[in-house]
């Protein structure tokens, strides 16, 4: 097992480039608590090391990663310099690693659920732009059910059901009617936005959702509570965060270690071949798309009854689309996608804490996750290998 893992480690120039990226990040990190180097010399020195590593990698032909290391080095020097210039009090207030990591997990969870949904759907060959709408449907119907039925379990179930139903509409239009998948998915977003907004106003009016709605509970790990660093992060996480982590593992097992996953992927790669060997393309795609809606619905329910405990019109704020970017950058693989989702979660968590510096400029940092998505999509996409038949309607023979 260990040997297999070792065999997968990068070698040669790739390893140099990756080391360069890590060193570039370290250039920034050294200026932050707890080390908090106050002289700009430290980030500069370490950053230059990253530049050298990156340049070496580029000269040896590892272009993309090498340039990544150079960018990381430059960013490390710049950010590190800024950090050495800002006051210690500010730094201590903003950079509380355990709080940042806990917030990262909270922000990443809806993305992970939606991205897993996207992976299932797209692995079966159906693009799912409608994730945003399914998240929103899950958020609204989740909180509605939790409120009216006075149970968060039922809230979760109804949220999954709502997400699944919207996904079913998308599936029907894009599989049976062979509508353009992007347009049909986009229509789902509009439908969900209109329907949830309409019902929200109709049922809750101007006051918004009540405050005494049953919430998804946190998981208390009392033995962890006193541990240094890990305690504050993992001690009291919401149940859904653990479920998200479990779902990632489960999704990987199903997709890559079971016959079902093999069938699903073959439908997404070459539907005709799959049908020839007796796999029903339509049934597989229906199942995958519906599952993606169920997962997105759960992610939405976490948003409304696990995270912020209220609902607002259009509260998902583009998270479904970020999840889509996560799917692409994660190369349609659950673990990679989860890592990317954590990266986005971290940027959101950071944006949340930056108002300590400047109220008005902090607004600008709200754009951080979106800028990051743009950069990552632009940087990674040439390297991504989508399922061969994704987005193509299939006509039964």
């Amino acid at each position: 097992m260990i040997e297999r893992l070792l065999a997968r480690l990068p070698r040669g120039a790739r390893a140099i480039a990756m080391a360069g990226i890590v060193v570039g990040i370290a250039a920034f990190w050294i200026a932050l608590p707890p080390l908090q180097a106050r002289s700009p010399l430290w980030p500069a020195l370490i950053g230059v090391l990253a530049l050298i590593l990156g340049a070496t990698a580029v000269s040896r032909g590892v272009k993309r990663l090498g340039w990544g290391a150079i960018v990381a080095g430059v960013a490390g020097i710049g950010l590190g310099y800024l950090a050495t210039r800002s006051s210690v009090a500010h730094l201590d207030q903003v950079v509380v690693w355990s709080a940042l990591f806990a917030a990262m997990l909270r922000y990443a969870t809806p993305l992970i659920f939606a991205a897993l949904g996207g992976i299932f759907s797209e692995r079966s060959g159906v693009t799912n732009i409608g994730l945003e709408g399914m998240l929103l449907a899950g958020a609204f119907f989740g909180i509605l059910a939790a409120d009216k039925l006075e149970s968060w379990v039922l809230g979760l179930l109804i949220a999954a059901l709502a997400g699944g139903l919207f996904a079913l509409v998308h599936a029907f239009f894009s599989i049976h009617l062979r509508a353009d998948q992007i347009i049909s998915g986009f229509a789902i977003n509009f439908l969900a936005l209109g329907l949830t907004g309409y019902l929200f106003i109709d049922i809750y009016g101007g006051q918004g959702t009540p405050t005494d709605i049953p919430e998804i509970p946190d998981v208390h790990l009392s033995f962890l509570e006193d541990w240094y660093f890990l305690g504050p992060i993992f001690g009291r996480l919401n149940l859904m965060i653990w479920l998200a982590a479990g779902s990632v593992v489960l999704a990987w097992l199903v997709l890559f270690r079971t016959p079902i996953g093999l069938r699903l992927r073959s439908v997404g790669e070459h539907p005709r071949a799959a049908e020839t060997v007796g796999i029903s393309v339509y049934a597989t795609r229906y199942a995958a798309v519906t599952l993606s809606g169920v997962l997105a619905g759960l992610g939405g329910a976490y948003l409304s009854i696990g995270f912020v405990n209220s609902f607002n019109q259009n509260m998902t704020a583009g998270r479904g689309f970020i999840a889509l970017a996560v799917v692409i950058c994660g190369n349609w693989r659950p673990f990679n996608a989860a890592l990317i989702a954590l990266l986005f979660g971290f940027s959101s968590a950071l944006a949340q804490r930056l108002p300590a510096y400047s109220e008005s400029a902090a607004v600008l940092f709200q754009a951080l996750p979106y800028v990051l998505t743009l950069v990552v999509v632009a940087g990674v996409i040439g390297r991504s290998y989508p399922p061969a038949a994704v987005g193509r309607p299939y006509r039964k023979q």
């Binding site: 353009d180 986009f186 309409y198 109709d202 689309f321 970017a325 600008l364 998505t373 040439g382």
Partner: protein, 429 residues
């Protein structure tokens, strides 16, 4: 190792054109279906689509509120001012920019008539809807789905409000032209980012334009929020921009300028419809754009640079949306606050306008009118709350938009139904 370092692949236009293939392969564009769309018979599909959407919207009204959907729709219709066309009078209308009056059979001449006032509002909204609709439609013709109309509209509006409120002392016409052109160019730039990413690395335009929407939104909120760089100079506690100067406001040619009459941007929108048609159907650029839209492979084989057209089509489409933002500011909003920035949905409605209008000039014009009427008719100001709550009706509009997009996207369904009906009719004969 020397092999890797050795001959780098030739970096010519031909080589560059190869690269977007991967992005194109992910969720292939709507281009293939466009052929069908353009062929599929005339008006039948959009009309049936609209009917379907309103039918389902009516069902929602009936189920959730128990009210008669027809009464609701009638109230929305009257709120939109379209009933003005029913009050045929025999009066005159003032020609724009002049003091001459000409005979105009429809004008009831009472500018204060409720229908006329409402219709002015509808047409004011029609202007940006047509332009953002064209923005979506142009990209569609090149096989791309530009969801970024909202962001392009916002950056156009932001730059227009900035220029309109500064540069004192310029002659009025020049001031307006600079502001409008800057708005359009800013929109082009914003969309161009997505076009460039698609052309160079194959980043899917749906994701990049949506991210650009959110970035534009937060930049706008930042600029006009308290303490932001473009926040009002005289009212430090209100998150709003400066008012644009008097001389940079567009002329109102129908109605009372104080009551938000119809501004001359109306003619710009009309002109844009013509320009759109000419560019697509009578120029080399339009030919190449459409060729890429139908089949990037074939276009590349025919010697057309796919990457270049992706970029150009995106930039031009952003230009339309940026123009919409600039005209809205100079024509009737005059200022922009952070709330406008976050709640405006004009650019998204443009998607429904383009899809229902089947990406044609005339189609966009008509579907723009439909959605403008829906938006104005369901606004808090125009919809009688006794009949239907406007907050609900706004969401009803979104719902109907979604249904329209869904059904238009699946026009195969409607074509198939038509086909079935035709077969059945033929069978007994």
């Amino acid at each position: 190792m020397s092999e890797v370092e050795g001959g780098p692949p030739p970096e010519g236009p031909g080589r560059k054109a190869e690269e977007p293939r991967q992005g194109g392969d992910y969720a292939p564009s709507a281009a293939g279906r466009l052929a069908l769309w353009q062929k599929a018979g005339g008006l039948a599909v959009p009309l049936l689509t609209t009917l379907f959407a309103f039918l389902i919207g009516g069902l929602v009204v009936l189920i959730t509120t128990g009210k008669n959907p027809l009464t609701t729709y009638k109230a929305i219709f009257e709120g939109s001012g379209l009933n003005w066309f029913l009050e045929v009078g025999s009066y005159e209308i003032r020609l724009p920019f002049t003091d001459t009056y000409v005979f105009f059979p429809w004008n009831t001449n009472d500018f204060e008539s409720l229908a006329a006032l409402n219709l002015q509002q509808t047409l004011i909204i029609w202007v940006p809807l047509v332009l953002t609709g064209l923005a979506v439609a142009f990209a569609f013709r090149c096989g791309m789905f530009n969801i970024g109309g909202q962001g392009q509209y916002l950056v156009g509006a932001i730059i227009a409000v900035w220029i309109g409120s500064s540069l004192e002392g310029l002659p009025a016409s020049l001031h307006i032209i600079i502001a409008v052109v800057a708005g359009a160019l800013m929109g082009a730039l914003w969309a161009g980012i997505a076009g460039l990413l698609k052309a160079l690395v194959g980043a899917h335009e749906v994701i990049s334009t949506i991210m650009l929407n959110w970035i534009a939104l937060w930049v706008g909120v930042y600029l006009f929020s308290l303490g932001g760089p473009l926040q009002n100079d005289t009212q430090p506690s209100v998150p709003v921009s400066n008012d644009i100067l008097e001389e940079s406001k567009l002329k109102v040619f129908w109605g009372d300028p104080l009551l938000q009459g119809l501004h001359v941007g109306f003619f710009v929108a009309l002109a844009a419809l013509v320009v759109y048609w000419i560019t697509l159907n009578r120029t080399t650029l339009g030919y190449e754009v459409r060729a890429v839209g139908f089949s990037p492979e074939a276009a590349r084989y025919g010697g057309i640079s796919v990457a270049r057209n992706y970029f150009l089509a995106m930039a031009i489409s952003g230009m339309f949306a940026g123009l919409a933002g600039a005209l809205d500011i100079l024509g009737w909003q005059f200022r922009i606050n952070t709330n406008d920035v976050t709640t405006s949905t004009i650019g998204f409605t443009g998607i429904a306008v383009a899809l229902l209008g089947r990406n044609t000039s005339i189609g966009v014009m008509l579907s723009g009118l439909l959605f403008a009427a829906l938006i104005v008719g369901t606004s808090t100001r125009n919809l009688d709350p006794e009949i239907f709550r406007p907050e609900l009706a706004t969401n009803l509009t979104t719902l109907i938009q979604g249904l329209v997009i869904l059904f238009v996207g699946a026009d195969v369904l409607i074509l198939w139904l038509l086909h079935k009906a035709r077969l059945r009719r033929r069978a007994p004969a």
